[in-house]
């Protein structure tokens, strides 16, 4: 098929349609980013995935992107323009692009769309996300072991299932190793706002937290922790190794490159199909950044064992017995959570104080 296409391209070239033919020959992959590519976190890693696609396929692909696209009315226009620009495959890399992606996909049935972290699919729309909560389990374990004040600060972004899952998973595993642990959660209502994130980190430190977990994408909380001293943090979305060995003792790294390469390949081969992908540590989509020497060797070994057990599937991050915050039973002894409940998770597990905003 590709050979035929190339042959046709050659004919077209001879016919003097060089520009058009070349444009057709290259697979064009577009990316819509919610933050700037230099955010050091979420968007940075998606952009790394884009660069990996370029590296993998060289001259046979062309990638285009638009950064800092707001999740409101502007998203649909940005995606449409990308479709008009001749993209064959478009990745929209934030939850808020869901409806816009589906709407544009309806108008361009020949273009393939991939929406990150959403749940609406169509014949030409796939969804993909990562089981970040597996990484949160490892963080929770280290945090529970490392905290001296028994207060762990959590900078949450928006009260959506993905973020709530992360809080629950971190809490469960911190509590397991340290029954006195307490979580203080600040909702920043942003994915990326260094000033707000730094304020949140400082407020948590003032409230006695000596471990800060973040579900926002900038390195500002790392900087705030470094300044305060004796606080530990974890890199979010990206390794944030500039802050290692202290305050950053480990990280959750989003590794989109293998998925982006595989999906681009599928478009090139004509084998692309609409799928729902939710991969974790096992496939490498979620990476655990190096645990630094600031963590005692035994804790490090336990954390790595936990990581490997999650990766091999021998242990699930949500394994019963677990109760919901209100004390009602959720999972029985040995029972694991099903993906449906996890996907729509809108409750805290027992022991977490405070309420999920407006729930």
């Amino acid at each position: 098929m590709r050979a035929v296409k190339t042959l046709l391209a050659g004919v077209a070239l001879a016919a003097g349609l060089a520009g058009a033919a070349q444009a057709q020959d290259k697979t064009k992959v577009g990316f819509i980013f919610v933050g700037p590519v230099g955010d050091g976190g979420w968007t940075y890693e998606h952009n790394q995935g884009r660069l990996a696609v370029e590296e993998e396929f060289g001259d046979s692909v062309e990638t285009i992107y638009q950064e800092s696209v707001p999740e409101g009315a502007d998203a649909e226009r940005a995606i449409t323009q990308m479709a008009l620009a001749g993209a064959d495959l478009i990745f929209t890399t934030s939850f808020g692009y869901m409806d816009a992606t589906v709407a544009v996909a309806e108008k361009f049935p020949d273009i393939k769309f991939e929406h990150a972290t959403g749940y609406k699919t169509a014949p030409n729309v796939s969804v993909y996300s990562a089981r970040f909560y597996e990484g949160r389990a490892v963080q929770g374990h280290i945090a529970g072991k490392m905290t001296k004040s028994n207060v762990i600060g959590y900078i949450a972004s928006f009260p959506i299932p993905e973020v709530i899952r992360g809080i629950n998973s971190a809490y469960i595993h911190a509590k397991k190793v340290n029954p006195d642990v307490q979580f203080k959660i600040i909702w920043a209502y942003t994915w990326f706002d260094p000033a707000k994130e730094a304020d949140a980190a400082k407020a948590l430190i003032e409230q006695g937290a000596d471990v800060i977990l973040q579900h926002t994408d900038s390195t500002a909380p790392q900087a705030a922790a470094q300044e305060a001293g004796n606080i530990i943090t974890f890199g979010q979305a990206s390794d944030m190794s500039d802050y290692a060995p202290m305050p950053r003792v480990s990280s959750i790294i989003d590794n989109w490159a293998p998925y982006y390469i595989a999906r681009t390949k599928a478009v090139m081969d004509g084998t692309w199909e609409s799928v729902s992908t939710w991969d974790g540590i096992g496939s490498g989509m979620v990476g655990i950044g190096e645990i630094t020497d600031a963590v005692p060797a035994d804790v490090k070994a336990e954390a790595e064992a936990l990581r490997d057990a999650l990766g091999s599937g021998e242990y699930h991050a949500f394994t019963g017995p677990l109760n919901k915050q209100d004390g009602s039973a959720w999972l029985a002894e040995g029972e694991t959570a099903d993906d449906g409940t996890l996907a729509g998770m809108n409750f805290y597990v027992e022991g977490i104080e405070g309420e999920i905003p407006s729930n």
């Binding site: 999740e71 323009q81 808020g96 209502y189 905003p357």
Partner: protein, 361 residues
Amino acid sequence: MIHLEKRPQPSKFWAGLTPVLAVIATMIAGGFMFWMLGKAPLEAIRTIFWDPLFHETFGPYSRPQLLVKAAPLILIAVGLSLGFRAGIWNIGAEGQYIMGAICGAGVGLAFYPSESILIFPAMVLAGALGGWAWAMIPGLLKVRFGTNEILVSLMLVYVAENLLASVSQGLLKNPEGMGFPGSRNFRDFPAAYNTELISGTGMHWGVAAAFVAVIFAYVLLTRHMLGFQVRLTGEAPRAARFAGVNPTRLILFCLGTSGALAGLAGLFEVSGPSGQVTIDFNSGYGFTAIIVAFLGRLHPIGILLAGLLMALTYIGGELAQLMLGLPGAAIQMFQGMLMFFLLAMDVLSHYRIRFNKTATA
């Protein structure tokens, strides 16, 4: 030596010419920036200013989108300009925009899935009222307790943002949304959907409202007593007092009108282009509209043009990112330059430049 001499009256000639000069200066300075980034400057500027209108692939899609993007900016800026002319500073249009969207969308969603033709008019009314009521808070506090409307209206933006976050996850959350925040999409609710009036033109009710607002503001300012009072209060506050202008009434009128228009903009946006109430539904239109109001010299026609120009730089900027790989930050710099040059060029309308041989410093 060059020195500046204050003009007794701002020059009409220069006031009209400076926006054009500012755009040209922005093109030159911006072109230099693009060149330093390793992009062809002329191509970048052509992409930003020309391609959204005339590019063979993008033009047919972008032209209507200009109206869609400009409409809320114009609608809000026209309202703000009335207050700004009278020295009443509503900085919180963003909050009023959000409240209009919440109230309007709330009314619509309350009747889901009714097919009554009265739903959309009721939503429009609720949107305007929501914005108006939110602007009345700084208004009433100002006339009753003498508070500063700049601070109060600005702070209320953050209150509105939190309300928005709350309703998207609570009151207005889509019951079929699997626990994710955000309301139902109005696309799936035809009676409440702010659809295109003429297919393919981008013309929705919000665009129509923006044009109507421009005309009304123009008539108000040139033909109506209230408009005269607005202008007089801004240009000669003492004279206005002697002329018997009632400051309380004027404050409430200006804040109320700008709030209602911002609320309308929010409603048209949420029920049309945006489609749903989400946590981060607002994307800064209320603040950008302040720039549009000044770029348009607080004049209705000027605002119309300024809104379209602003929309052009947004959409052109997006195309430049797509086709030339320009970083998003460079586009924001470019827009910032436009504002900078505009304000800097104001010197020309307020001052005369004199060239002296003898240094007096």
